[in-house]
């Protein structure tokens, strides 16, 4: 009676099985990749007005709070109203074509729609003010804004990333004076850290990693 399979076909079959396994792995990776954040980390996000933090912060040296007015008082850092932009730009570069949308906004009363760069899931309640008050510097999450012509996201924003600080808070704080400074964290001495923790009396690790700290 004829054999069901010739040696070659057997080899093919084995190879096919192998291929199938690889295909599954590939499919999973593909899915993973497709579901990854669109605004990739470090990928610039286009804006209606090509606003350059590099220029305003790095060159001009504006303080973060000049535009992000509510960052110390509210969960939301605050986006500058058209008015705020115009405090300078009613004089400076007022005829620059780049700023046309700004004047249009003022004329029509229609707000400018900025594209969100740091977008947290909506069941996460992040609060800027408390992080500022506890000495977490802007640069900690937003990176060297003073060197970004266009804003780019510097962190994955996934829960793991949040927990990196929430499990070791004391290692991520700096003196209140440095919070808005765009310089790398200077090495804190042991007794600096002790001093800061006394100052901030940060909540303990258990509290900072409670679900109820960020989710309601």
């Amino acid at each position: 009676m004829p054999q069901a399979f010739s040696p070659t076909s057997i080899l093919t079959i084995k190879l096919l099985i192998l291929a199938a396994l690889l295909a599954i792995v590939a499919a999973i990776l593909l899915l993973e990749w497709r579901m990854a954040p669109a605004a990739e980390e470090h990928a610039a996000v286009m804006q209606p007005i090509m606003f350059s933090h590099k220029h305003h912060v790095g060159d001009v040296g504006l303080d973060c709070r000049y535009c992000h007015t509510s960052v110390e008082k509210s969960g939301f850092a605050g986006m500058p109203s058209t008015q705020i932009c115009l405090t300078c730009h009613s004089q400076l570069f007022k005829d620059a074509p780049m700023l046309a949308p700004l004047h249009a906004s003022m004329a029509t009363g229609k707000p400018i729609q900025w594209n969100r760069v740091y977008d947290l899931p909506d069941f996460v309640y992040f609060n800027h003010s408390i992080h500022i008050a506890k000495g977490v510097a802007c640069i900690e999450c937003h990176g060297h804004v003073d060197q970004m012509p266009l804003m780019t996201r510097q962190a994955s924003l996934n829960m793991q990333w949040c927990l990196r600080c929430h499990t070791h808070a004391q290692a991520h704080v700096r003196p209140l004076g440095d919070v808005f400074r765009m310089t790398d964290m200077r090495k804190l001495s042991e007794q600096d850290v002790v001093e800061l923790n006394r100052l901030y009396h940060l909540q303990d690790r258990r509290r900072l990693t409670d679900c109820s700290t960020c989710h309601r």
């Binding site: 009676m1 004829p2 054999q3 069901a4 399979f5 079959i13 994955s156 996934n158 829960m159 927990l163």
Partner: protein
């Protein structure tokens, strides 16, 4: 052939377990013939189409469920678990007998398992597969069921190990895998037989290839047989404790809860007994028509059925004990909530279900004391059906009647099944039947290798 089998505790001799005068070849012909494209009878085709439609309905229902949400069922607060969990426990129970027969009876070298093991194992695989679907479907957000598995994730969170549902997740998973492997390993030599037969017949190339692939290049060498024996023995060794563990786990899903009617230490053994009970009942329900329509009376003899019937009878007493123990403890405990729960089962809104389950599971099986009934297939078939229904009702009483009136009278409520509840129950039965019909048509319904062994033994028997 194997000398071991001479001194086993099996009381039934080969000739009792094998009718007619079958040679190896003749037997193999008979069994293998179906798999070689045996013409399907009209009633067979009708049954297939009927169950096929049922299977499609099941799929449709699942789609609708995922789209709309579990609210399409009759569940509510306080009764958040309804038919889905009832069906789950019921199917898992049915899925017990197979592995028990194959594994436990193999380990204890019961000769009579050979004829029914294949059917029973298939029943197990299908039943457990269906059982596994329900816990996932009953989730509010079924697409996140994998959160019950521990795997590294960006949330840095793990399953909550104190929850019996997590243990259950593993218990079922393991059980599905082992019973599937057991089933397949047992099939390998038979696949080889089919491959070879297909090879000898003209126009059976396709089957030859398919069976050939499934046979994994089995050539019946002594080496193969040795490995085969070891593998089956190891799987049997694994399977036997699993048979107990998986349903113990299911029992814990309830026993860990604090609700009167759930929170009961007798549940694990009680559930296992119940599982055997329903498992063997379902096996009879399947095997009796099977031997009738495929003419297998010589291989699945009255002796087989009678043995199964005895196990059924024994189990019904185990259950009876369980029911009594439940009632006793609830009153002995002196706990007003326990007492109320028990009374509520007996005289509350679900009392009819309670009493009919006692009738089906305790009263009816007592008929099996009569030899005549044990050896009358019509009686056995009827009883097995009644027991299946009775066991489903028992699961229902445990799941629903316990929670519908728990601690605070203000939050008492009732559970009324919706059309969708029934659709899921009935169409899952159809799905099961459909799978079983496919099995009957494409696979050898009797483990040929084992049976040949039996034929051999009969030949060697001193006349």
């Amino acid at each position: 052939m194997s000398p071991r089998s001479r001194h086993t505790q099996d009381l039934s001799t080969p000739s009792e377990l094998l009718g007619g005068s079958w040679s190896h070849a003749a037997f193999s012909d008979k069994i293998a013939a179906r798999a070689m494209g045996y013409p399907v009878s009209k009633p067979g085709l009708a049954a297939f189409l009927f169950t096929f439609v049922g299977m499609l309905i099941f799929l449709g229902a699942v789609a609708w469920l995922v789209f709309k949400g579990v609210g399409i069922w009759g569940i509510n607060v306080p009764v958040v678990w309804g038919f889905a969990i009832t069906n789950y426990v019921w199917w898992i129970g049915i899925g017990m007998a197979g592995t028990f027969i194959s594994a436990a009876l193999l380990v204890t070298r019961q000769r009579w398992r050979g004829a029914v093991s294949r059917a029973a194992e298939s029943m197990t695989v299908f039943a457990v597969a269906i059982a596994g679907i329900f816990p996932i479907l009953h989730l509010g957000r079924p697409w996140f069921f994998y959160w019950l598995a521990p795997y590294p994730n960006v949330m840095n969170v793990w399953p909550q190990w104190r929850s019996p549902l997590v243990w259950d997740f593993f218990a079922i998973g393991t059980y599905v895998l082992v019973s599937l492997m057991f089933w397949y390993v047992g099939l390998i030599p038979d696949f080889a037989t089919l491959r070879d037969r297909a090879g000898t017949m003209p126009g059976r190339r396709a089957r030859q290839v398919v069976y050939g692939l499934l046979a994994l290049g089995w050539r019946g060498e002594a080496r193969h047989w040795a490995r085969y024996e070891t593998a089956s023995l190891m799987l049997a060794g694994l399977g036997t404790p699993l048979v107990v563990s998986v349903h113990t786990m299911v029992a814990m899903d309830f026993a860990i809860g604090n609700t009167p009617g759930y929170h009961s230490t007798i549940f694990p053994p009680f559930f296992v007994a119940g599982a055997f009970f329903s498992g063997f009942a379902m096996m009879l329900t399947l095997v009796i028509p099977l031997r009738r329509f495929l003419g297998l009376q010589d291989f699945i003899t009255g002796r087989h059925l009678a043995n199964a019937a005895k196990i059924l009878l024994a189990n019904s007493w185990l259950l009876a004990y369980g029911y009594c123990a439940e009632i006793f403890t609830s009153f002995y405990s002196g706990d007003q909530f326990e007492r109320y729960m028990t009374l509520n089962r007996m005289i509350g809104p679900y009392a009819p279900v309670y009493w009919s389950l006692l009738f089906c599971n305790v009263v009816v099986p007592q008929l099996l004391w009569r030899r005549g009934i044990r050896h009358d297939v019509r009686w056995l078939f009827a009883i097995s059906l009644i027991v299946n229904v009775g066991m489903w009702m028992e699961r229902f009483i445990i799941v629903v009647s316990s929670v519908h009136r728990d601690f605070l009278p203000s939050s008492w409520g009732m559970f009324y099944p919706t059309a969708w509840d029934w659709i899921f129950l009935l169409s899952s039965v159809a799905l099961f039947a459909w799978l079983f019909l496919l099995f009957v048509h494409f696979l050898p319904v009797i483990a040929m290798a084992d049976m040949r062994k039996l034929i051999q033994e009969r030949a060697e028997e001193p006349a």
